[in-house]
Amino acid sequence: MANDALEAAFADGPAFVPYLAAGDPDYESSLKYVEALARGGADVIELGLPFSEPVAEGPTIQGAVVRSLEAGMTPDRFFEFVEDLEVDVPLVCMTYYNLIYQYGESEARGASEASGETASTGPRPFVEKAADVGLSGFVVPDLPAEEAGPLREACDEFGLDLVFIVAPTTRGERLERIMEQVSGYVYVQARLGVTGAREDVSGQTEESLDRLEAYDVPKAVGFGIKTGDHAERIVAGGADGVIVGSALVDLVAEGHENDEDADAVAERLESLARELKDGAERGFAQREPQAERT
């Protein structure tokens, strides 16, 4: 709607959309890692603001969340992090709704504590701040379209996109309801379950893309993509972009466990990013003729 950056990122060929948790395993290293993704060819970056109860995440990203929280990540630090980042791709904040909601609550609480009142301000202050630091949009895994009204409004007000996830189980009316509200891109969940790198690509992806064919918004596929080959197949199958999280977080975790130099980890991240980006482009090259799609 108001922000063109995300749709634009999908305009020229397939978009590579990597994810990392901000501040994993520490603030400084994490800055380097995110910047490495940009150098590796990221078209959009999903930045995780960690929440203590990440119900949609598998073990890999749960690990990232724990490391980031233990290193002191908070919503305010997250906004600083975004400001400190030196990247020129659009950034999407991936987080859970309570953090967005509480940011406003706690601001209001600070203001109203003297008077003893508690005013529910909702997501507006968080979105305002996000716009302020230059974020382009949000993905909120525990916020279905039905509950998204207040956040959607705030996003519209401040010109941010609100990305929704479409699951293999999302059909019919629900799909329509989501597609009415989505902006930026739609996050196509490649399979049921939680985030995490997998060895194979699911047949559910193609079904989902078929269902979404009628809609105009870019379709980025995520959940389980691990290698350039996966990315290639996904894009060849019709996706406008690939979202990759756990495979990248694995590298961060590995580096952390082995106490590696952040630059060395950043290099590997950049290299995997490039592989994934290249894979996506190879896949895109195979897109004509479309008739070959089963």
């Binding site: 929440f51 203590s52 109860e53 990440p54 119900v55 949609a56 995440e57 598998g58 073990p59 749960q62 724990v66 929280l69 908070t74 919503p75 305010d76 859970y96 709704y97 309570n98 953090l99 909601y101 509480q102 940011y103 609550e105 706690s106 609480r109 508690t118 529910s120 895994p141 525990d142 916020l143 279905p144 039905e146 509950e147 929704f164 996830i165 479409v166 699951a167 293999p168 189980t169 999302t170 059909r171 629900r174 989501i178 969940q189 049921l192 379950g193 939680v194």
Partner: protein, 408 residues
């Protein structure tokens, strides 16, 4: 699906169709008794679960408090607590929905054991997620679930307690949503769970209301129930909500202190209604123990069954509306009440339920002539905790603990 501002369905998209399907099933089977679902549920509650449970006049407490104290004896339900009311309802509903597998989470193990029993009874495979730390603390309950044929899967994330187990169960459900039903253990989670669990538990107040009329010719002046997630609370209150003269008290675990330690992310209590703030957790907007930023706190109570950072959205709403009074008592008072009830009435209560009795003790004479207390469960499961916690304190009515130092 809302109770004022509370409630809703804050879940990953992958679960939304399941939740929609469940909402539909809830409306048809539970609310409209399609295919005689509710008849079968009530029949199984009676024959398998042992309902109705009595409402007992408590002679010695009545004498002590100079008012008429009645106990709703949910400790007599199969498994030892009200938990089966809900577990049996949901497993049966899953069967009606054609599901082939049950998942559940458990903290202290009470909901897990209830679900395992119901699943065995109804021949459904069942997997129960339980925090690693809770598994180590509640080995007899783990064993009971295994005996009933359930799989118990340890959750190592976080501190390995209930909230991590809930998150992990939601992940399983999100993965296996097509053939699996998630039996949530309290009036929490996304709609329709809070309403559905309340409906399954409301048999408590439905029976109690009739039994009080029969025994006293009227209704009690007050109903007391302990509140963690709030399932026994809502079950005990539901049928009294419209009786405006009946005061309703939800007694939370005050733990060791009502303050919180934001630095360590720990609240030394589980008093979400009394001290929590509105937020979104595990699928619903409700009152939550959280830090300033919205990160969920680790709660604490001497009673592991009350040890949860959230509370049912309907209960939060009823408190905001002024219909339910939120109260709390601390660990010491609950433990003392545990010993008192054991000695005076010959009933060893769950530490959860002991909280309601501690409130009665602290507010004697102020709750009216006729007080109904929901005795939500029996305390056999708590004996080790009681030894450990009594040893730490100076409770003059407690029996000599020397012989039991260090547990059994």
């Amino acid at each position: 699906g809302k109770f004022g501002e509370y409630g809703g369905q804050y879940v990953p998209e992958a679960l939304m169709p399941a939740i929609t399907e469940l909402t539909d099933a809830y409306e048809r089977y539970v609310l409209e008794n399609e295919d005689g679902f509710m008849d079968e549920f009530r029949r199984r509650l009676r024959d398998f679960g042992g309902r109705p449970t009595p409402t007992q006049y408590a002679e010695r407490l009545s004498e002590r408090y100079d008012c008429n104290v009645y106990l709703k004896r949910e400790d007599l339900v199969h498994g030892g607590a009200h938990k089966l009311n809900n577990a049996l309802g949901q497993v049966l509903l899953a069967k009606y929905m054609g599901k082939e597998r049950i998942v559940a989470e458990t903290g202290a193990g009470q909901h897990g054991t209830a679900t395992a029993m119901a699943a065995a009874h109804l021949d459904m495979p069942c997997e129960v997620y339980m925090g690693k730390r809770d598994i180590n603390r509640q080995r007899p309950n783990v064993f009971r679930m295994r005996l009933n044929g359930s799989t118990v899967t340890p959750v190592t994330a976080g501190r390995g307690t209930l909230k991590e187990a809930i998150s992990e169960t939601m992940r399983d459900w999100a993965t296996n949503v097509e053939d699996t039903h998630y039996v949530i253990g309290s009036v929490v989670g996304p709609h329709p769970f809070p309403a559905m669990v309340r409906d399954f538990q409301s048999v408590i107040s439905e029976e109690a209301r009739g039994q009080m009329r029969e025994k006293t010719g009227g209704l009690p002046d007050a109903v007391l129930a302990c509140a963690g997630g709030g399932s026994n609370t809502m079950g005990a209150f539901a049928e009294f909500v419209d009786d405006e003269d009946v005061a309703l008290y939800a007694v939370e675990a005050g733990g060791s202190s009502l303050s919180v330690d934001e630095e360590s992310g720990v609240a030394p209590n589980s008093a979400s209604l009394s001290t929590g703030r509105e937020g979104v957790l595990h699928g619903a907007r409700t009152k939550i123990l959280q830090d300033r930023d919205g990160q969920i706190m680790e709660s604490h109570s001497v009673s592991s069954g009350l040890d949860y950072a959230g509370v049912g959205p309907e209960l939060a709403h009823l408190v905001d509306e002024g219909r339910v009074t939120a109260a709390n008592v601390d660990d010491d008072a609950a433990l003392t009440a545990f010993h008192r009830l054991s000695q005076l009435e010959g009933i060893i209560p769950a530490l959860e339920s002991a909280h309601a009795f501690a409130y009665l003790e602290e507010n004697r004479g102020e709750l009216g002539d006729s007080v109904l207390v929901n005795l939500s469960g029996r305390g056999d499961k708590d004996l080790e905790s009681v030894i450990e916690e009594t040893e730490k304190r100076d409770i003059d009515i407690a029996p000599d603990m020397t012989e039991f130092a260090g547990g059994f």
